[in-house]
């Protein structure tokens, strides 16, 4: 951290990248940085993009970023990616897409979950604040996979896009993974493949089954991200959803839910850290030995730690 104000450090991509590296490390420096930046946040529109592997999600995110950029928006991408232990996190695909965006002015950053998911979620939350303070108008947060952890991260968004592709399995992935609930926009990518219309129809049918008829019905859009087909309409839908949130004053409740989650996560991690600081490694090892040998159960050990 240099002596300049944290905001002036965010004027170059390098400064932004360094700030994100800082929040990935956590600790007191991160807390200070976020405290300093926080008053300058709250203007970015955050778009979460989630879906199963193989849906062409990364290609779609790049295409959306380019289209938004063409509409004179300042755009950043955070690609949340479980890390590959052999390659150290950065995979070939990442490098391709970074090259694809090189020179466009679109900021892109991969964030990998080297440790616990909780730690990653916190780092992503902080990275969003950094990009927001750095004056990006639209931030696309892409999560690989359709697991519950990824869904949690997507919930930080103002607008959530769920991406499907035909022919990935016997059933529509979003329905299987139970993430239709959080979708504001549904995209069937690789729409030139057989089964695209059936996939879109299945999604529409499931939306009809939804008992919660909200004012916003998620549109089901078909794209071929590789050739930009349909990308324009997805960007229109994002803009329309952003306007809808403003019109119905739904932006504040979404922000509340986001920070409620974040605050709980911060408390959980800090409480655990403080508690474990009072436990010697030898003591912890002995407890694990007792549990492993079935002399004691995890619940009563937890109770003892909490009562001490």
């Amino acid at each position: 951290m240099n002596s300049q104000s944290p905001i002036s450090n965010l004027q170059s991509p390098l400064g932004i990248a360094r700030a994100i590296t800082q929040v990935e490390r956590g600790g007191e420096n991160t807390r200070q940085l976020i405290r300093a930046l926080f008053p300058f946040t709250g203007r970015a529109h955050i778009v979460g993009v989630t879906g199963a592997p193989g849906t062409g999600k990364s290609t779609l995110v790049n295409a959306l970023a380019k289209e938004l950029h063409a509409r004179a928006k300042r755009v950043a991408i955070i690609a949340v990616d479980p890390s590959s232990p052999f390659s150290g996190g950065a995979i070939l695909g990442d490098r391709f897409r970074m090259q694809d965006l090189a020179g466009t002015g679109i900021f892109i950053r991969s964030m990998a979950s080297r440790g616990q998911l909780g730690g990653l979620a916190a780092a992503v939350a902080d990275a969003l604040l950094i990009l927001d303070a750095a004056n990006f108008e639209l931030i696309l947060v892409e999560t690989v996979g359709a697991g519950q952890g990824e869904v949690e991260i997507a919930r930080h968004a103002h607008t959530t896009l769920v991406v499907e592709a035909p022919g990935l399995g016997d059933d529509i992935q979003a329905i299987k993974a139970g993430i239709l609930e959080i979708a504001d926009i549904l995209v069937v990518n690789k729409a030139d493949r057989e089964g695209a219309n059936a996939a879109a129809a299945a999604l529409e049918m499931n939306l009809n089954l939804n008992p919660n008829k909200a004012a916003w019905r998620p549109p089901v859009l078909k794209t071929i991200a590789l050739t930009f087909e349909g990308v324009n309409k997805v960007v229109d839908a994002i803009m329309k959803h952003a306007a809808y949130l403003d019109e119905k004053q739904l932006r504040v409740p979404r922000e509340r839910a986001r920070f409620d989650r974040e605050l709980r996560g911060l408390l959980e991690r800090e409480l655990l850290e403080r508690t474990l600081r009072r436990v010697t490694p030898a003591r912890w090892d002995e407890w694990l030995r007792q549990i492993t040998q079935r002399q004691r159960d995890p619940y009563s050990v937890a109770q003892e730690i909490l009562d001490s």
Copy 2:
């Protein structure tokens, strides 16, 4: 809970199902149940099965269970599934596979993540203890998706199987998702599809790149679960890995890692609960309002709660 001993309640599938429903609810009754059962656990071999949607993972798990059952093993399946909000968690596929196993004596249970992932991980950990105490020799834990949360759950296992299928995307899913690290056995399912040999070769190549040459090199096996082709060899590999863990005395370190994780999770949840009990809803709402309006940042609010 009736007045009989908790163990005698686990003699029927209905009793087991009720005990699992109990641990899904959490609370003091769950703690009591696990304390009573815990001394009777530690004999089951837990096999985690993970992989992306569309790999035919469920069909493979059913086939493995049948083959293990044919070898006179007592087998149970826990299928961890993010819940579908529209269908209430139970989806058509679940019912098919339950019918598929009806009358075989194989126990199967779906567990859905209705709330936080932490809650689900704890419920799955407790369900494993119940099935262990109920004398199942092999427990297959299947997790949908390849997200980090799913990987965490798979880490509870003694043997972890990662399932791939050809043609799901441009790259091998396990590499993308960084879950090769945790695989003890790699399976390329749907091996009658084009690209199966290439997928297997890519996995072998990645194993060659692994700098950590352990005594156990994960075998890469091809299956067609639908016709049982190759299923026999996967079961052989599971048995071989179980024997390897015993021979190298690796079972205890794996159990330690499992309970280390579980203990931290229990502490985290209980600490947060205790802390939030001291905060009035009105106070919490006011803090969220201040954060949303950027009058205060999440870190300083967390600090205030922790210091109070």
